[in-house]
């Protein structure tokens, strides 16, 4: 690309950038969510969606609370959900929505007992089965591990994608920043934690890449509407973040980051100690080698904590988002996960 922009002609770059920006404006708003979904009755505050036929192998996706789950279905070309559905999986997704002021006292225990457990009830009833497979993504993976530890008898298989387990590894920049923050007082002042603050925190981890390099590459999308749309979809997703329910956020920062409860064995949820060793079913742990949010060591720590008798691990090159949208992940990872799920799942009785 640099050959196209000679040293003494920055005007050419400016002109290309201006053209792309104009075109981007024309293309907005972009559509997100490419796979047809059906929302199912669910008693909690979240929404339970089903993708694909009701006859496939059921899989519940638990996504992070800090972002929106449509990164898993951003476009037809790079849809995790689409890939799973095509592989004969019936995908259920718990969408946490956007917590409002009245959700301020929602706890992590509520997310587990009233949302995840109810979703599992609903899926097991529909598929006439006792147990359901769960795929947890990032922070959602941490919640999935907790659920599998607390309700091991209800989880058939567990897949964790970019999931932090050890929150105090030396490479964990987020931990370095939040370890001295008085999180109780912060939420006392704010109520819910505003998304704009969290976005500032995440952007602040890679400001040069996310604020400079990223927008300069726009000029390279000058004549490629498809690539520009993909850029705009990701851009929309990155900053379409929900506020965080105050109490649940305090629990997550205090018990996971500051106390490293899963590793220390001190984590208490739903009135019980959370011990990942209780889940003994098949477990597939996937992480990215250059993930700046969940360093590989943070995810790999699961191997030493789980009681899984069939633990499997996969390492993918690239960063955090690459696990969901990279060509490599869609070519290699998701076909493998589909095959693994079929191998590890009991026959559907219906």
């Amino acid at each position: 690309m640099s050959d196209d922009i000679p040293l003494n002609d920055p005007l050419q770059l400016q002109s290309k950038l201006a053209r792309t920006l104009r075109r981007a404006r024309e293309l907005q708003p972009v559509s997100v969510g490419s796979t047809p979904a059906r929302d199912l009755p669910h008693p909690g505050t979240a929404t339970l969606y089903r993708y694909g036929s009701a006859e496939g192998v059921p899989l519940l996706i638990i996504y992070s609370l800090v972002n929106r789950p449509y990164i898993l279905d951003l476009s037809c070309e790079r849809s995790v959900i689409g890939a799973l559905v095509r592989g004969g999986i019936t995908v259920y997704l718990l969408d946490w929505g956007y917590p409002g002021p009245m959700d301020r006292f929602q706890r992590l225990d509520d997310y587990i007992e009233d949302e995840i457990d109810c979703a599992v009830d609903s899926i097991t009833a529909r598929h006439a089965t006792e147990r359901v497979s769960i795929l947890g993504v990032c922070q959602g993976g941490t919640l999935a591990i907790c659920y599998a530890a607390l309700r091991a008898e209800r989880v058939r298989n567990l897949i964790t994608l970019a999931t932090p387990v050890d929150f105090q590894t030396p490479q964990d920049t987020l931990y370095r920043i939040v370890r001295h923050v008085n999180i109780e007082r912060l939420t006392q002042a704010l109520g819910n934690v505003p998304a704009i603050g969290l976005n500032a925190l995440f952007t602040g981890l890679k400001p040069f890449q996310l604020l400079c390099r990223r927008y300069l590459t726009l000029a390279e999308l000058d004549a490629d509407d498809q690539a520009l749309q993909a850029f705009l979809r990701l851009e929309q997703w990155m900053y379409d973040s929900p506020d965080q329910a105050g109490v649940a956020f305090v629990q997550f920062v205090r018990d996971f980051y500051q106390a490293n409860g899963l590793v220390a064995g001190s984590l208490q949820l739903c009135g019980e100690n959370v011990n990942p060793i209780r889940f003994t079913g098949p477990l597939f742990n996937v992480y990215a080698t250059a993930d700046h949010l969940v360093p590989p060591a943070a995810a790999k720590a699961l191997a030493n904590l789980t009681g899984s008798l069939a633990y499997r691990e996969a390492e993918l090159p690239g960063g955090h988002l690459g696990l969901f949208i990279s060509r490599h992940a869609h070519r290699r990872l998701y076909p493998t996960l589909v095959e693994w799920l079929h191998q590890c799942s009991e026959p559907v009785l219906r």
Binding site: I5, L7, H180, R185
Partner: protein, 284 residues
């Protein structure tokens, strides 16, 4: 420092909110990058020697220093406001000689406004704390910028990227970003930089909490709900939700138990099992 004018207070134009001020560091980072880019992409490149580039980078640094200095203005402005003498102080001036040895912060809280006095004192303390934390953070940022520029200069002087490999402004800029990112990550992994961010956030929290009583008093005076009122409502709603969920779970357990009981009775009963319409409805 902003000069106060009683007729027309000159407020910095960016005093829209404390949160905005908290993000001043990021803003300064963005300005650094934009400025760096403008230096590298300046149309006049005739005398593009290392010396010229060095001078331009110095200019960027100077602009940056100015920007960082401005980021402290807002804090100073608030602090000045809090320290403005009240008219009552001027009236009491003749008596002040007697109390010269008795500093203001040692006065006890007396009279009908003692609560407000205590709140104001707390506000002043937290403002001091916030200013200290903000200064420390901006010092960290200054050190970061110095380190980035110093490393970049050094690498250019060492010929990385060399004139033959640096074929475009874009490559020079990319290299600048690489150096900046590498240095920034080193700072993020240090002890002091994350500590400065945490301290700033904690100080901001204290300040925000210290402002709340005054804000609540005003809201109450205007007949509007205070934070306390909102929090009470949130707690009440949360209790109701929990109660409702517990009731739902209890009812579900009862229904399941009844179904099981019914099924057991059917199994125990002689003759073929019958299915009623209501059973079907229940299962659906």
């Amino acid at each position: 420092m902003i000069q106060q004018d009683s007729a027309n207070h000159s407020r910095p134009e960016w005093t829209q909110g404390l949160l905005y001020d908290l993000l001043a560091g990021q803003r300064a980072l963005a300005i650094l990058l934009a400025a760096g880019w403008s230096v590298l992409t300046a149309p006049a490149r005739d005398s593009e020697t290392n010396t010229v580039l060095d001078a331009q980078l110095n200019q960027v640094l100077a602009q940056l220093r100015e920007e960082i200095a401005r980021s402290v203005e807002f804090v100073n402005f608030l602090l000045d406001l809090a320290r403005q003498p009240l008219p009552i102080d001027r009236l009491a001036q003749p008596f002040s000689a007697n109390f010269a040895h008795f500093p203001m912060h040692l006065y006890p809280n007396l009279g009908p406004l003692q609560k407000q006095q205590a709140n104001l004192e707390a506000l002043q303390r937290t403002l001091d704390g916030y200013q200290t934390a903000a200064l420390r953070y901006t010092q960290e940022l200054s050190e970061l910028f110095e380190a980035v520029l110093s490393e970049y200069r050094q690498e250019l002087a060492d010929g990385v990227p060399s004139e033959s490999t640096a074929r475009s402004t874009r490559e020079l800029y990319d290299h600048w970003l690489e150096v900046a990112e590498r240095t920034y990550e080193r700072f993020l992994r240090s002890e002091t930089y994350p500590q400065a961010i945490s301290d700033l956030l904690n100080a901001w929290t204290d300040l925000r909490l210290a402002l709340q009583p005054a804000l609540d008093e005003l809201l109450s005076y205007l007949g509007l709900p205070t934070q306390r009122a909102l929090e009470d409502t949130q707690r009440h709603l949360d209790r109701l939700r929990r109660q409702q969920r517990a009731d739902t779970r209890r009812l579900q357990r009862e229904v399941t138990a009844l179904r099981n009981e019914l099924a057991a009775l059917r199994d125990a009963a002689p003759g073929p099992p019958t299915t009623t319409r209501s059973d079907k409805d229940d299962r659906s």
